[in-house]
Amino acid sequence: MSSPKGSEKKPASEVRSTATQNLKKKFKPPKDEHLLRKTKNKKPNNTFTKKAEGRVVKRQLPKFKSSHGKTPNSGAVQKFSRPPKTGQKGKEGAQDDQTEEDPFPGDAPIPHARLQKHKRGKAEDLDKNGVTFLSNRIHLKKKEKLVKYAVNLAARSEILLPEETGFLEPAKGDCTSEITQVQIKSSVDITSATKQFDLSMQFGPYAINYLRNGRKMLIGGRMGHVAAFDWVTKQLTCEMNVMESVHDVAWLHNETLFAVAQKEWTYIYDNQGIEVHCIKKLNNVLRMEFLPYHFLLATTNDSGTLSWLDVSMGKMVKRTHTHLGRLDVLCHNPRNAVLCCGHSKGTVSMWTPNFVSPVVKMLCHTQPVRSVAVDQSGVYMATSSIDCSLKIWDLRTYNCLQSYKLGCGASNITFSQRGLLAVSMGNIVEVYKDICTETIHKPYLKHFVGSSVSGLKFCPYEDVLGVGHARGMCSMLVPGAGEPNFDALESNPFQTKSQRRETEVKSLLEKIQPELITLDPFELGEVNRQSVIEKFEEKTRYMV
């Protein structure tokens, strides 16, 4: 801040910022002797001495009016025994940053793409829309303004995001698909290099599941080996052999509970490996998906039954017999919590717990569907079938966007948070970038895994792909796969125990009822025209 008079004894090497100097100009009417004393102690600084001179000169000509950077108050300032700011600025080149014309006046413009990302629909044209009362129209316009302001603010706040995505740029002339995991591992820092590891175990093909915040990992081997561990620090939470065949594993809402689909029934275990529940109603389960916002464990059956179990209350919400045969291809759409199943007739059907029949049924391939994946934003769906084809579908229009021919039938496909698609074909895992938006010809990354792949999952918020295969599991580095900036109120990888407990309570309070699962998640904001019409008719029935 502005230093007191005793500061003339300060050493000359002390740097004074322009801010303090400007403050001094504002708050202290300078006196000649005071200034001269100060200049004596200072090293010869061109700008400073110039300013001193300027001050002295200006006061002898009180009616001097500079032509530089006119402000309406410049006249008023001259009444006091302080030099006018504006005139002074003209003299010094180095310190005239305050009142000079701003070459980019106003707020910084926001890039259009960023603004579009945060928009949630088009604004209503209120003048033409049939809002009859003026006061209502004005009220709605004010609301639209607020919405626009919120969108702007959210788009601007992106500058505060701390991390940036990973990337991989090959050497000139090379392409990324020729880069091996060993090369990547040797080029990155130690922490990231430890994320690339191989575990060789002998308990059968492994299924993998990552916790929602990317912290812990669950592996389940077909021979009964189940283990939960923190894959970064390699610290084991629990490990056991359930002595039965394990078909799928899934974390529940946090790291304290996980579900294992065993030979006959489904079991729920604690994080210490203690069996907490044995759910006999979920029998012969092949695949499991957990819907985090609804606390629903969705499972598919050997006999073609889809079940939704509310894990917070232990209530079976719905069991539907699909009559479409053995369901061993399952995926859930994170945007609207709808389940997608693939069938042996080449169709993909989508199910909600509110209807007995599928809400959407689409013919994707001529041969049985081998795997289905839906990306994070819920816009694209990738399906692969036995006839070595891979198709990308748009889920808004149900059109086929891309169609690719692979080397062999893809047994597992999965999307990452940033839209990378990982495909496993036999022993090989390939990662594709921008597969949905453009037609690509080469994979982004390739990795040869020792044995046939049985499970494939990207780790949320990390650039890591977990591959479960017949002889263990392997963790691959895929730069640019994970979302760099997480929202701590959604899922926090650095959650402490108390935070975990608080989040659990909060998310239970905000648990969405299964009746609200619809294909269009924003349907709740729409007006139910039918009931409005009915009510209006009833009201005006006896109106004169």
Binding site: H118, P170, S186, V188, S192, K195
Partner: protein, 478 residues
Amino acid sequence: MDKDMLKKQIENMKFQATMERWPLSKSIAADDSKMKVKVLVRNPDDYLRETKRDIHKLPRNYDPALHPLEAPREYTRALNAVKLERVFALPFIGCLDGHRDGLSCLGKTPDHLSWLYSGACDGELKLWDVAKRRVLCTVQAHDGFVRAIAYSQESSSLYTVGDDKLIKQWKSEAEDGSDLKAPVNTILTGGMLTGISPHRSKPILATCGEACNLWEPTRAQPIKTFQWGVDSLQSIKFNQVEENILAACGSDRSIILYDMRESVPLRKVVLKMRSNSICWNPMEAFIFTVANEDYNLYTFDMRNLNSPLNVHSDHVSAVIDVDYSPTGKEFVSASYDKTVRIYDARQAHSRDIYHTKRMQRLTCAAWSLDDRFIFSGSDEMNIRIWKARAAEKLGVVKPREKTALRVNAKLIEKFEHHPHIKKIQRHRHVPKHVYNARNELRSGRIAARRKEFNVRTHTKRQKPIISEKVKAIVSEQQ
């Protein structure tokens, strides 16, 4: 075998040696011959708090892709918010006990927000400290009913009128209000007095009784008298914004508007039933509300008296008193059916209803000048204090709590048209007599409407259609 083992060991060591490099700067070299790679890595120090005394760090990302299912989640939150609001809706605060006869009027003063004046049917005037819920001062103001209390801002004194035909002026200078002993001034009027209202800025009082009189405190005779017809007036109020306008309710079912500067009354509108009380909107210059005997309240615009702006219905018996909130956005009405209802000034139906088994016929209602409390005076000698917003927290509200409450209120407002949320928000437990009377009245209204509809559809010569609002008005006169 040994050789192989050795080879393996050597390879291992080489591999380990390569692992222990720090090649970041090397790989991000500025030449194209090397590949550039960056893998996402987070420094835990940036995401974890430093000491146990800090708050947890919460980095945010507002990207909609990370927040799926917004509409159902907000709906669930709104549902929780409206349920919590009902859980915390405990409007009754306390009871001011002490009068020995039924209450007849309440008075407020802007100088001391926690003071309340109350006049009883035995002529007693009490000054209450509402915050401590005790009497500060009691004085026998009149022989007979204390008909009205009004505070004059211009002279900082209180005026009361009673059945003994006196206007008394009181002042309480002391901070603890204990000097309300004797009136500063008394005016002997010859006639009946039922109401009083002081001018906002001039030392003039308006009283009503047989006619509307304007008094100056120093004079013994009224400076002006307005008379229209031979009927008496029930209640009179000066407009606080347009300071020279008065309005009064007459017993010939009329509402009369006067301008103090004129010599004759301005306008008169006759309704179907008599109005008991009138109150001007303190924020809008020309709006006033009357409490009518036909179970409704009517809001008029002074400039257009041939149709009310709004008809506020919901009471099941005559409405006795009405008072506006100092914000001018809501008002409270006390009714003969032992309930107090709060209305939004623009809406036809009440937003809230307060009732107690012990509260019998209400005679007066007031909204405190800090907009937080409602006072109701009743026949059984008690004044009850209620919260103006039933779910409001009265104590110190911390900033985070305040934000959470505001978010909840906004969520409820956003989803208020959804049927489940609307149902929960509107649901109130209502005394049995009110519930039964309401159903009876509703079926009567529906039957009348259906009959009119049938009559119209089956007659050839038809009377002109009158809107429901205007039906209450009989005539307007100048």
